[in-house]
């Protein structure tokens, strides 16, 4: 380990001429900073992680290959950093030329030397005393110019100086006392910082909004639930649109060619569909909007009249796919509703290609072969006053954690939960502003595990619609996936605190490391000098813990307190570099 540390430091020292200086022993300073431009976001350097999924197409793929199927056995921790926070550590460590930016719960941003783990600056602001947090987490800062952008749980968007961590501007986006909050990493396109509002469980009417990266001025705001006179407004057959949900809480994808930003939209509120009759656009949909105007250009709704809390919150993975001898602009979405959807972006909008279940799903009877619109089995669609079971559970086949598409294997890696069904009795309740509003009898909400395992890391070939391999886990799998050109797939997400690497082609488990807590975060790969690093936050909480609590009350009898909390940034590199 001593040897490794020295090697890494030397490697880092060799890069200093490229941009940074190390200050005194106490804290470092960034003397120069490589500004993030549109050109860099569209063609990121192999060693950097500048966007939520590294690239605008949301592949979550790193072209680095020093850590590979042969060398991964020598992967060892080279530094760690305790965040001082409990609850859900979900953010990818963002890396720009040797500087790492990490967000944690508790409104904290850490700037770290990505090679040494030394703290450069820390931003930590006090949250309002009366704040209530359903999801105490954050999913990272966006990078643009010489600033980083933080969306907060009290519904603010804050710009920090990337070199010093000093606040440049601080804009109120929503009203946290009315249940609006933000947990997502913003998406920046040409200096427009886009965010979305959470709060689907508090009866908000959610939106996507853009702000000027220079000064925080609001540029546009597009509601994901249209008013009656707006396009799509007629898909709400009552006044339920006023409190209809449609939250937006995972960073979108972006297609520079068509200038379309793809955003996933959350569940309709409250949960039972008979409380908001109609298709309820744009809930449980992908919307594609023009980032300059906010205008929705096209959309695809995965399932109408959502009744299961199936947010389709992740944006589609954008990829070029061969179909009938032609290359098409494909949109691939392993959905919370348990179906793997393949769509095509055309000049006339989004076209349905195929949909098939990737986990056991009993709510859809069939899909319309032309439009993909599902027909439902009413026995498995929650309504008021009746106990209904459904598969998958409200956490879905794949919840918010991101899949990854390997440009090398051309496989899609899905962190799935199979064999986990749920039940509820819908309940009509008056909305009380600032109070959770699920529309479900709390006594009735239960998980119903079935089969011999739940979590599955699945590999699919989107072009053929065939599954390549599956790696099962006894209980839940709840974390984002990274694939690399080293032929590897990385994921945490299990309640045994492991961080794992698999052979991307075969699904063979090649490496694992037990960490301080459970991992629900997003792994990244980056390089400083000639060293490749893999980084992940370990810090269990939020939904992974809620599943643990719920499975504790089933025949599985999991220990609800099995996974300790407390966040740590882990960074790995090879013990011996080739």
């Amino acid at each position: 380990m001593q040897q490794t540390t020295r090697t890494v430091l030397m490697a880092f020292a060799a890069t200093l001429a490229g941009g940074m200086s190390i200050g005194g022993a106490a804290a470092e300073e960034i003397s120069t900073y490589a500004p993030v431009t549109q050109q860099r976001l569209e063609n990121p350097e192999a060693g950097n992680w500048l966007l939520y999924r590294r690239t605008y197409d949301s592949h979550g793929f790193s072209p680095l290959r020093q850590v590979n199927t042969d060398t991964v056995k020598d992967l060892v921790p080279v530094w760690t950093f305790a965040t001082g926070q409990v609850e859900g550590h979900e953010a990818p460590p963002m890396v720009n030329n040797g500087i790492m930016y990490v967000t944690t719960p508790g409104m904290q941003v850490l700037a770290l030397n990505a090679a040494t783990g030394d703290l450069i600056w820390r931003y930590k602001e006090k949250l309002p005393n009366d704040l209530f947090q359903l999801h105490p987490t954050n999913r990272g800062v966006a990078l643009w110019g010489d600033k980083v952008y933080l969306a907060t749980v009290d519904a603010r968007l804050i710009a920090l100086d990337a070199k010093t961590g000093k606040e440049v501007w601080n804009t109120k986006v929503g009203d946290y006392q009315h249940g609006e909050y933000m947990t997502l990493e913003p998406l920046v396109v040409r200096g427009k910082v886009m965010v979305g509002s959470s709060g689907g469980e508090f009866g908000v009417r959610a939106y996507i909004a853009a702000f000027d990266a220079d000064n925080g001025k609001e540029l546009w705001r597009t509601f994901t639930v249209p008013a009656p006179d707006d396009p799509g407004g007629d898909t709400w057959k009552s006044d339920a649109w006023k409190t209809g949900g449609g939250s937006v809480w995972i960073t979108g994808s972006y297609d520079p060619k068509r200038n379309l930003a793809y955003w996933g939209v959350g569940n309709a509120a409250p949960w039972p569909g008979d409380l908001h009759p109609g298709d309820d656009l744009y809930t449980s949909s992908t919307v594609a909007l023009n980032p300059d105007t906010g205008k929705i250009q096209t959309y695809f709704q995965y399932h109408w009249n959502d009744s299961w809390d199936w947010d389709e919150i992740r944006p589609p993975v954008l990829l070029n796919m061969q179909r009938n001898g032609q290359t098409i602009d494909a949109l691939v979405h392993p959905a919370r509703d348990g179906y793997l959807w393949t769509l095509q972006q055309t000049d006339n909008g989004i076209k349905f290609i195929s949909g098939q279940p990737f986990v056991y799903q009993n709510a859809f009877k069939s899909l319309d072969p032309q439009t993909g619109r599902p027909t439902y089995d009413p026995e498995h669609k929650p309504v008021v006053g009746k106990q209904i079971s459904f598969c998958p559970s409200l956490w879905g086949g794949e919840d918010w954690p991101s899949e990854s598409y390997s440009d090398q294997t051309q496989l899609l890696y899905i962190p799935a939960n199979d064999n986990m069904c749920g039940q509820m009795i819908g309940e009509k309740k008056q909305l009380m502003v600032g109070q959770l509003w699920l529309g479900a009898d709390p006594d009735s909400l239960k998980l119903l595990p079935r089969g011999d395992h739940i979590g599955e890391l699945q590999a699919w070939d989107p072009a053929t619609g065939k599954r390549a391999w599956t790696y099962p886990f006894p209980s839940q799998l709840f974390a984002s996936v990274l694939s690399t050109a080293g032929g590897l797939v990385f994921v945490g997400g299990t309640n045994d605190r492991m961080f794992r690497a698999f052979d991307a082609k075969s699904g063979e488990l090649l490496w694992q490391q037990k960490t301080n807590s459970g991992i629900i975060g997003m792994p990244v790969a980056y390089s400083v000098g000639d060293t490749e690093y893999v980084a992940i936050q370990s810090g269990w909480g939020v939904d992974a813990q809620r599943i643990q609590d719920s499975l504790a009350n089933t025949a599985m009898k999991l220990d609800a307190n099995a996974v300790p909390q407390g966040g740590v940034v882990w960074v790995f590199a090879l013990r011996r570099r080739p």
């Binding site: 005393n129 209530f132 359903l134 309940e427 309740k429 959770l436 009898d441 709390p442």
Partner: protein
């Protein structure tokens, strides 16, 4: 069904509708008396029913009938509704089922606690008939209101602070301050 009592009362009150306002918005200055936590001598009025400002009596509450309330200054006739952290929950039990320490603070079997979960500050409002406990809807912390709101499940680190009550002219009256600090374990932090 669990929780239906609350919704029925809310509907009767008529003011807890969508966008009905309980608390001042973050950017508005609020009267310090409205921001204050309950004080000795305060009465209690049902949240959402402040216009009537009728102090609650034990008989106004059905058995296991969860009511959310604000403290109410009988002199100024001001409800202390300036912060959601001031919310009080009331529930009436058969006094014989209460722990001794509870019974002394619970005239007519009515117990009062801070409604603010000691985990992440959501309002604790789900009465689970099956388990006979009050559950926080956000993260399923469970409190036994008959036993000093001790935590019997979920992530909450400590009991809900109790609000000692007595009677005055038949109405519920605050007999002492909250028995512990109101709110999450680390206010403002995760």
């Amino acid at each position: 069904m669990a929780g239906s009592t609350l919704s029925r009362r809310a509907l009767v009150g008529g003011c807890i509708g969508a966008r009905g306002v309980f608390v001042a918005r973050a950017d508005e200055p609020v009267d310090p008396d409205r921001m204050a936590l309950p004080k000795i001598g305060d009465r209690l009025v049902e949240a959402g029913n402040e216009p009537g400002k009728t102090p609650l009596k034990p008989d106004d509450l059905g058995l296991h009938d969860l009511t959310l309330a604000w403290a109410f200054d009988p002199q100024t006739r001001l409800a202390r509704d300036g912060s959601r952290l001031n919310m009080v929950l009331l529930m009436r039990f058969d006094p014989a089922t209460l722990a001794d320490a509870e019974r002394e603070m619970a005239p007519g079997g009515v117990v009062a606690y801070s409604a603010v979960c000691t985990h992440q500050q959501c309002w604790v409002t789900d009465w689970l008939k099956s388990a006979q406990v009050l559950q926080c809807p956000c993260h399923q912390s469970r409190y036994d209101l008959r036993q000093g709101a001790k935590v019997v499940g979920g992530p909450a680190p400590r009991p809900l602070p109790a609000l000692p009550l007595t009677l005055s002219d038949g109405a519920l009256k605050v007999a002492g301050p909250f028995t512990d600090r109101v709110g999450g374990e680390k206010p403002g932090a995760a």
